[in-house]
């Protein structure tokens, strides 16, 4: 599934399908609900601009789908959520950092309502 596509490339496709097929909103409607400039959704769907995590969060909330769905980490709209230590060189983390990250992710999972 989705192998070799960058997260932002998966987002580009899933954003369009969730907006059009699921919510049946035009780009301006979604932008307004997400508190973003009107043209931003067009840029994201065309791939001319990549989102930040903050923008991704806003769009997922507005569409009422999970961030994991928009990133292609799950196939279902409201499926199980994933944990990511968002650090590029995860393989280089020390054992202590890995343990700390794991505990912190557990805390974040519980923190989620």
């Amino acid at each position: 599934m989705n192998e070799k596509l960058l997260p932002s490339e998966i987002f580009q496709k899933r954003l369009k399908s969730a907006r059009e097929d699921l919510r049946k909103w035009n780009q301006a409607q979604l932008a307004e609900r997400a508190g973003l400039p009107p043209s931003s959704i067009a840029h994201f769907e065309a791939g001319s601009r990549k989102p930040s995590f903050d923008t991704l969060h806003r769009i997922a909330t507005a569409l009422d789908v999970t961030i994991d769905y928009l990133l292609g980490r799950t196939e279902s709209l409201d499926g199980a959520e994933a944990s990511d230590p968002l650090f590029r060189d995860v393989s280089k983390l020390t054992g202590e950092d890995r343990e700390l990250a794991k505990d912190f992710l557990d805390m974040l999972a519980k923190r989620k309502k």
Binding site: F53, L86, D97, L105, M107
Partner: protein
């Protein structure tokens, strides 16, 4: 993604725009309060743990930042949190940190180990967030000059002395050069526009030797001076430090940066004014790319 001076400037401007849009009008900027406002949990790593200076983590739509406290510097720690906020707020950083597929395969940027453009962008975001141009300049006008000004501004922004010194050189109207050195070797040097107006200066590149005639050379000759944060200040001819073709007596203020193991030198003059500069700004950009890095290698 290659390193682009424009991309780095835009990262800094993004932080400054964020502050403007959210009506932050006083210093210091509190990166932990910003994280809290965006419902990003922040947790300090125990001071006994070294490893990475910071980490952004996600579970579903719940985000968190962990930051290192093994370096007992508030400025360093705040910069680390602001850096992780950069990864959260900057466009496209999700491709930098997320796995490409569900099997733990990660995006590879082989070749970018220390000069990773995403990490540099996050550094620039942090500098812009903690030391936004408009607020920093307002305080600059009230501050004294040279090292005194840098220390006052570091206190106001609650930033490290090195990060503040770099921003000071960037934004002051005075003739200033900020040099960081380790022992007999220069790590990097920044000059303000007014200092660059001196004709035919020599660019102090990374790895150049500290000139022997300087107070900095004397201080660095004994590592204990650096460890004990010894300070020296004296007058010196600018040509002894920066070459060029115009002799001007300037102040050289030197301070050892303690456990950081480096030395900060501030050269300043009130008699050098803005003249036709003609300096190549690209050299500045190269130095800025170098400058923020050491804090994230620890």
């Amino acid at each position: 993604m290659a390193i682009s001076a424009l991309g780095l400037k835009m990262a800094k401007q993004k932080a400054e725009a964020f502050l403007r849009e959210n009506n932050y009008s006083t210093l210091p900027i509190d990166p932990l309060a910003i994280a809290s406002k965006y419902d990003i949990a922040v947790q300090a790593k125990p001071s006994s743990v070294e490893g990475v200076s910071g980490m952004l983590l996600r579970h579903g739509s719940s985000f968190g930042i962990m930051y290192a406290t093994n370096i007992a510097s508030e400025g360093f720690q705040r910069f680390s949190v602001a850096h992780e906020l950069g990864h959260y707020f900057l466009d496209g950083h999700l491709d930098h940190v997320l796995p490409v597929d569900g099997n733990g395969v990660r995006v590879s940027h082989a070749g970018f180990t220390s000069g990773d453009p995403y990490e540099l962008e996050a550094d620039y975001f942090a500098a812009g967030l903690l030391m936004p141009g408009n607020l920093f300049k307002r305080e600059l006008k009230r501050a004294d000059s040279g090292l005194t000004a840098i220390e006052a501004l570091a206190g106001i922004c609650r930033t490290s002395i090195t990060a503040t010194a770099i921003r000071y050189a960037e934004l002051t109207d005075d003739a200033v050069a900020v040099i960081i050195s380790t022992g007999p070797v220069i790590d990097y040097c920044f000059m303000s526009d007014a200092m660059k107006s001196l004709p035919q200066l020599t660019w102090l590149k990374k790895g150049s030797p500290v000139p022997r005639e300087t107070q900095t050379f004397q201080l660095n000759a004994d590592p204990k001076n650096v460890e004990t944060a010894k300070r020296i200040s004296a007058e010196i001819d600018v040509m002894d430090w920066l070459g060029g073709s115009r002799s001007v007596i300037i102040a050289e203020e030197v301070v050892g940066l303690g456990s950081y193991g480096k030395t900060l030198t501030v050269l300043s003059s009130e008699s050098i004014g803005l003249q036709a500069a003609g300096w190549d700004d690209e050299e500045d950009d190269e130095n800025l790319i170098e400058s923020w890095k050491p804090r994230f290698r620890k």
